[in-house]
Symmetry: C2
Subunit: 134 residues, 2 copies
C-alpha cells in the first residue's frame, strides 16, 4: 500500500499535557486511517522535535508528506517557524520534501481554526461537565 506521511506538529510544553494530547491524537489518527503513517513532532520543550520527525520520514515508504499543526489558530509558529523548518516560503502551502529516494510532494495544512466540529467538541465538553458527578 502506498501511504502518506502525516507529521502532527505540537507546540510542546514544560507540563505533560500538550505532549499527551499530540501523542494520543497521533495514535487515534493512525488507528482510524491506516493510509497515513503518523509521527508527532514538537516545536520546543518535547521530543521528538520537528527536525527529528522530518529525518525519520526521509527513510519511510511514503509518496507524500502532509504536515498538520495541532494548534488552535495561526500565530508566529504557524506563519513563520514551521514554514522555515519545512523550507517553504511564508504563505506557501505546497512544496517538495527531500526524501532519500528523491523529492516527493509536501503539503502544509491549516491549524484547527473556526470549524463547526470544534463548536460540537466544546458543547460536548460542556455537557460532560454538567453531567459529571461532583
Amino acid at each position: 500500500m502506498s501511504r502518506k506521511g502525516l507529521l502532527l506538529v505540537g507546540h510542546g510544553s514544560k507540563l505533560a499535557y500538550n505532549k499527551e494530547l499530540i501523542e494520543k491524537t497521533a495514535a487515534h489518527i493512525a488507528d482510524q486511517h491506516p493510509e497515513y503513517l503518523v509521527r508527532p513532532g514538537f516545536m520546543s520543550m518535547n521530543t521528538p522535535t520537528v527536525e527529528d520527525a522530518l529525518n525519520l520520514f526521509k527513510e519511510d515508504e511514503i509518496e507524500m508528506l502532509v504536515v498538520v499543526p495541532l494548534f488552535l489558530a495561526k500565530g508566529i509558529h504557524i506563519l513563520k517557524d514551521i514554514p522555515a523548518l519545512l523550507g517553504l516560503p511564508e504563505g506557501e502551502k505546497k512544496g517538495l520534501f527531500a526524501h532519500t529516494t528523491g523529492e516527493i510532494p509536501l503539503v502544509y495544512a491549516n491549524p484547527i481554526g473556526p470549524d463547526p466540529l470544534l463548536a460540537d467538541l466544546m458543547v460536548k465538553n460542556a455537557e460532560d461537565a454538567i453531567n459529571a458527578e461532583v
Copy 2:
C-alpha cells in the same frame, strides 16, 4: 425557555486569529444550541475579558453557568488562573455563581484534550490541504 450561560474562554493574542476563533466558535454554538446563552471572554490581550463576561452573565436570565475553555490542553491558565477568576478551589469543577437573583450552579468544563473528534478534525485539515489548488 430556561437557558444556561456558556462562557467560552479564549487565551487572547496580539494577532487577530485567536479572537476570531473564539468569536466564530461562540457564534456556531449559539446558532446550533439555543439552549445556551453564549459569551466569549479572554484571559489577556483581547476584550471582553473573562471578568467582563462574568459581570454580564450576572444580569442574564440563566439557570446555570458553564465555563468552557477553548484551549488545547491543561496548563497554568486552566489549572490556576481560570479557577481563581471563578472563585473555585484548584481541582474543583463545580461551585456557585453569584447571580444578581442569587446563587446558581457553576460548572467548569475541560479544555479540548485528546478526543477522537479532534483526530477527525486534523485528518479533515490534512485532506483539505492535499486537495487544495496550489
